[in-house]
């Protein structure tokens, strides 16, 4: 039997799959019938309630449509979970706050300098994507420790832009 811990919209579901493919959801009684429809489409009958699930693997996670909203879902094995707990326990606590690019974009303006004290909600950097300017704001107060980009630079999604302390 394999056990999977699924994290979805902040909730955790524990799902067991037996060697012959029979599955059960911890804390949930009743029949669940899952079929692959084709491509990213799946059909689930929970009892007789019909739910369409559109899902694909992206990176180590899964992207799933829930109420027409694309959400990220994480699946871990029990082993993953143990390794992760160990890593968190042994790692040193640090109060650094990284600013990443939320999309591929062009840097239009950097609005702070290294050493500046910033307030929560203060604008840090302006990116242009799809012809719109988007201001990246600080979610918390802090001090600018490092700036990795400058005006005119093209950045990838997820690229580290700035480090706050």
């Amino acid at each position: 039997m394999s056990r999977y811990i699924v994290n979805l919209e902040g909730k955790e579901f524990i799902i067991d799959i037996s060697l012959d493919g029979v599955l059960s959801v911890l804390g949930h009684e009743g029949a669940i019938d899952v079929r692959h429809v084709g491509g990213d489409a799946y059909s689930v009958l929970t009892g007789n309630v019909s739910t369409q699930i559109i899902a694909r693997r992206a990176g180590g996670k899964y992207q799933v449509l829930l109420k027409n909203n694309q959400v990220e879902v994480q699946v871990e094995t029990e082993r993953d979970r143990l390794l992760e707990l160990y890593a968190t326990a042994s790692g040193s606590a640090h109060h650094r706050y990284e600013i990443h690019a939320p999309m591929p974009a062009l840097v239009v303006r950097v609005e702070v300098n290294v050493g500046d004290e910033v307030k929560g909600g203060q604008g840090l950097i302006v990116l242009e994507a799809m012809k719109m300017e988007n201001e990246i704001k600080s979610h918390q107060a802090g001090k600018v420790k490092e700036i990795y980009v400058a005006k005119g630079k093209a950045v990838e999604k997820g690229e580290l832009l700035m480090l706050l302390e």
Binding site: E9, F13, I53, R56, N69
Partner: protein
């Protein structure tokens, strides 16, 4: 003015509007020529056109905005006309001028009309002379922050900064107090420069609780000008339209006739021909003010098509060929109610941030009363280079409530995986009591929306999603027949323990 046949049209655009134009051309037996940037080689407009020509690199300044490249493709293909779509070069008078100079037909108004309406401050002066009411504002574009300050002091806040050269919400900023002015002024100028190659801005008094209502105009080359009724476009985010409908709940027959006549006069003031749109702001007392004229086809034109039965792109082509309008104002009849929702690649949970990625799954909403105009397909990539609007869902109903319920059904039916979309936001709006009662203005989203109000999945749906992800993870990690996933159509099958009394009696 003589009639000239159009046999082949080059479409100087991409995305859904290029596809839209190609479709009407096909229905009229007109050949189509697509142009494409490096990253658009396999996009639907290239696949659907009869011919396709590369015009440069991904950034639009190096392809879709390069007049020489587009004229070059037109010449090479032997096209006899160019349709500009909306955005890009559609409202650049010098483009229309160049097209005409090269002996081609520009499917749109005269360059003089574009120029007259393109300078937003000049346009306000022009239509005022035709007794069209306008919003109080600076008569001309302003050069310095000091001039801006002076207007704010005299008119009072809030104040709107707008690009003199453009529309579509680009280069637009609302200013509520003096210490926001400086950054808003610079931001607007930089965005205007970016979008229109012209950084001039002007200021207007910002109306309280305004509705944005526009009128569709059709005019032939012989001075016959009619309107096709209004479109209510008040539901906006970041000054860009999100949902449009026709009719507007606040426009009755008398107001429609009055605004329609005013719109026709505004169009005539610039000697307009072809399809155009007069945008008005309407205050809570149903006073209306000319905002601007869009001298091209509008994104939201399909709702007018559904309510009047007129194919606006076909009408544009016929007008450009020199045909007379086959309708006078009294021939225009309206039926039912139509709504459009713009499906954009953006994240309503995160300040409408654009979302990019590859669309791995796309299933349309079909059936009774549903139309879709899209410029993407499954397998296509949503890149950072162009507008985030992927598709438009348009629904018709005999009544407003039928149209709304149909749109909700269609939005829920629509499946797009690969990028975040604003479909959940549309569902929020369509279920909101103020939207249903018609009591809304352009501030609807600021006033009523926060991300936690988006629809939430119920537990059955969450369990279903969790089970599918666990299955996929299990199949992947165990390497159990990955091919059954890859080939895409062998139904795989997993089963939970059966509780037999929960099943049918067969």
């Amino acid at each position: 003015m003589k009639t000239r046949t159009i046999k082949k049209v080059l479409i100087a655009n991409r995305g859904e509007i290029a596809v839209r134009i190609i479709r009407s051309c096909k229905e009229m037996g007109i050949k189509t020529v697509a142009v494409y940037s490096d990253v658009d080689r396999t996009m639907p407009h290239v696949l659907m056109a009869d011919e396709a020509y590369p015009i440069g690199l991904a950034p639009s300044r190096e392809s879709y905005l390069v007049i020489d490249n587009i004229i070059g493709a037109a010449k090479q293909s032997g096209a006899d006309a160019i349709h500009p779509g909306y955005g890009f070069l559609s409202e650049r008078a010098e483009f229309a001028e160049r097209v005409i100079k090269e002996g081609l037909i520009f499917i749109g108004p005269l360059p003089e009309s574009i120029r007259a309406m393109g300078d937003k401050t000049a346009a306000r002066k022009l239509v005022s002379k035709a007794n069209v009411p306008t919003v109080p504002g600076t008569p001309d574009a302003i050069g310095s922050e000091d001039e801006a300050k002076a207007f704010c002091k005299s008119a009072g806040f809030p104040v709107l900064i707008k690009a003199a050269a453009g529309g579509g919400g680009k280069g637009m900023r609302v200013v509520h107090k003096m210490d926001e002015l400086s950054s808003a002024f610079q931001g607007a100028k930089s965005e205007a420069e970016n979008a229109f190659g012209d950084s001039r801005v002007y200021l207007e008094k910002y109306l309280e609780q305004p509705r944005h209502i526009e009128f569709q105009i059709l005019a032939d080359q012989y001075g016959n000008t009619i309107h096709l009724g209004e479109r209510e476009c008040s539901i906006q985010r970041r000054h860009q339209k999100l949902i449009e409908e026709t009719p507007s709940v606040i426009v009755d027959d008398a107001l429609r006739a009055k605004m329609g006549e005013t719109a026709v006069n505004a169009a005539k003031a610039c000697g307009y021909h072809n399809a155009g749109t007069i945008e008005f702001l309407v205050d809570k007392n149903r006073n209306f003010y000319f905002l601007e004229m869009n001298t091209r086809l509008q994104v939201e034109h399909p709702i007018t098509e559904l309510r009047t039965g007129i194919d606006l792109v076909a009408a544009q082509l016929r007008i450009a060929m020199g045909e007379k309008l086959p309708w006078s104002q009294k021939d225009i009849t309206f039926r039912g109610h139509a709504i459009e929702c713009r499906i954009c690649a953006e994240d309503p949970e995160n300040n409408y941030l654009p979302s990019t990625g590859v669309i791995s799954h796309l299933r349309p909403a079909l059936g009774v009363g549903v139309r879709e105009d899209r410029g993407i397909e499954q397998g296509g990539e949503v890149s950072v280079y162009y507008d985030p609007m992927l598709s438009k869902l348009i629904c018709w109903g005999a009544t407003r409530i039928e149209a709304i319920e149909r749109m909700k059904r269609a939005l829920r039916e629509y499946q797009l995986l690969g990028v975040k979309t604003n479909i959940p936001l549309h569902l929020f709006v369509l279920e909101h009591p103020n939207f249903l009662s018609g009591e809304f203005d352009t501030h609807f989203l600021q006033n009523h929306f926060t991300p936690e109000k988006l629809p939430h999945a119920i537990e059955t749906e969450q369990i279903a999603a969790a089970v599918v992800c666990a299955m996929k993870h299990h199949t992947n990690s165990a390497n159990r027949s990955p091919s059954s996933e890859a080939n895409g159509y062998t139904p795989s099958k997993w089963k939970a323990q059966r509780t037999d009394n929960m099943r049918g009696d067969t």
